[in-house]
Homo-oligomer: 348 residues x 2
């Protein structure tokens, strides 16, 4: 563990800078030794400079111990930003270049938070989403584009190396949790090639973790259980695309995307991990102090855990939980929420 | 329209035969002129005969005007049935061979039905799922299987021909509905090749339907709205895999998979369409009269609509709605539910 954490900060676009400001406020309140360097990347930077992310930028980011990212992406109707050019050129590029093969996304229904579910039960699970392969590799193409004979393909690429390391992470992670249960989510009855690799990898790794209970759900069925019995999940391990879908659903049932934190982890430490709220840049509410900084703040807790600062992480989580339980009908600004949580962290 | 509907019936496995019996009871009660021929296909048939579905079986099925399918699939732990062999060899094989390119899945929260959502609102939408291409084509493979160097791929194939016909169906279908709104669901910011084809097809077809409002959601965001604002959806058009996932989620929020009907349509009439409940064969509760036949009965209503029997379809829907609103704490058997609905249909 570094004595001082060198943190690269990418506030990004829209509400990104606002929530990052609050996240850093809370990080400062923990008194953990951190130095920050800010990077301007995002849609506005691209529109100004024509650059999304150069190789030299990645090299510079890689010099840091971790990255905090707010949110990136501009106005979706802007023709200069179509086709996910910022998402792919910045966010996914970093996940791939920095080998963030574990995308860790915890879901808890905090006390005081209203779930859209009538009877959510006690929900506390984590999705371990693969982050560097699957349908996200960009493989495929279009021929005869724009004609009646167009064909477009997407190739999901799954490797034993890539699947095994994330499955192994999920089992090891489950060992540190009370229920010690891993659920593989895939679609093995249709996607038999990739599904076969995922299932056989889980079967093999499971033999090394005899204490961990193992379960399997097709992705379609998993969405049902997430709505009807979310408390039955402990650790879900799944591919990049299914993980993307399930974690938005998980956020929805647990009080919204404003509370969903994530860590794009490089567990070996070869490259810096990147922490980010699951939400996007929400250009429609940007600059108005309307955004909830909680997801960014909870991402700070994930960052702290990653650096062994378990006490500081617990203080952040506790302060968030306490704050959530007092939220009433009166809306507070982004800064008010951040300051309240930071104050509580500083006092504990 | 045929004067007598020649219906091929595949009761299938598990609860399939039980729910099909009730669906046929209700069909008879409508007095629409139908003749039925039963086919034994399914997991048990396969385990007995070694045959899933021969080309000659498909030819024979194709002689009918429509197909009613209960549910197929055996014990998922049976090693002779792994890898979705029945699902792919029977269900998907029929969808592909009979060119069921529109998989129509309506979602309503019927009065009297308890949604797991605290405030579901008035929900009435339909998912138009592409049924003959996308990630379901089976393309891809595994090399170095079982070794540390294994690679497994899945290739999603999307054609202008295939996408345009289902998109066109969705717009035409929306024209017959009150809100006239089509939402494309995809993941165009990551799956840019297929997403580009889907988006440009929707853009082009939309110009022919100026009265239809057009919207777009990424699949991850769509799961959020399905939980938080399901009443905002009207017609969703999406690919085979996203449609599979979204329709299970849609079933979950609207009272469960026991109520979800579907039609695998061949709109041109070149081949028979196939109607089936979205649920599976549920071997654990099979033969106990515990299954809810409602999804199969609602699939009969879809079948009747398809043959222009709109009055009979409306009577079935009304009888189901009335029955649902009287369901209390006392569980009724599969046959009791079927008979109650059939009686109501006969009396109206
Ligand atoms: C913005 C997008 C590329 C990204 C993803 O699909 O991974 C987002 O949805 C997420 O979940 O972090
Ligand atoms: C059984 C399975 C192959 C099927 C599918 O994936 O289409 C089912 O989930 C459905 O939705 O009809």
């Amino acid at each position: 563990m570094p004595s001082q954490i060198k943190l690269a900060v990418i506030p990004g676009d829209g509400i990104g800078p606002e929530v990052v400001t609050e996240a850093l406020k809370v990080l400062t309140a923990t008194s953990v030794d951190v130095s920050t360097t800010e990077f301007p990347f995002g849609a506005s930077y691209y529109l100004k400079t024509g650059t999304i992310l150069e190789d030299s930028d990645i090299d510079e980011l890689a010099q840091h111990d971790a990255i905090l990212l707010g949110a990136v992406g501009g106005d979706p109707r802007d023709p200069r930003l179509t086709g996910g050019i910022i998402e792919r050129g910045l966010l996914l590029k970093l996940r791939f270049a920095l080998d963030h093969h574990v995308n860790l996304r915890p879901t808890t229904i905090f006390s005081g938070v209203t779930s859209p579910l009538a009877e959510p039960g006690a929900v506390d699970f984590v999705v371990v989403r693969e982050g560097t392969e699957g349908p996200y590799v960009g493989n495929g193409g279009r021929i005869r584009t724009g004609t009646a004979h167009e064909i477009a393909t997407e190739v999901s690429i799954n490797t034993a190396f890539g699947v095994e390391r994330v499955v192994r992470f999920a089992f090891a992670h489950a060992m540190g949790r009370e229920r010690k249960k891993v659920t593989l989510v895939h679609k093995t009855n249709v996607l038999t090639h990739a599904g076969g690799l995922w299932q056989s990898t889980v079967d093999r790794v499971a033999t090394e973790f005899p204490e961990v209970a193992v379960d399997y759900l097709h992705v379609d069925a998993a969405t049902i259980f997430m709505v009807t019995q979310p408390s039955t999940f402990d650790v879900i391990v799944t591919d990049n695309l299914f993980g993307d879908i399930l974690t938005d659903l998980a956020a929805a049932i647990s009080g919204g995307i404003g509370l969903a934190a994530s860590g794009n982890l490089n567990p070996s430490g070869e490259f810096p991990s990147m922490f980010e709220p699951v939400h996007g840049s929400a250009p429609d509410i940007a600059g108005k102090q309307l955004a909830d900084p909680t997801a960014a703040i909870l991402s700070i807790a994930l960052l702290l855990s990653q650096f062994g600062e378990t006490d500081a992480a617990a203080r952040v989580n506790a302060a968030v939980e306490a704050d959530l339980s007092t939220r009433g009908a009166t809306a507070r600004s982004t800064a008010e929420i951040g300051s309240a949580i930071a104050d509580a962290v500083a006092q504990n």
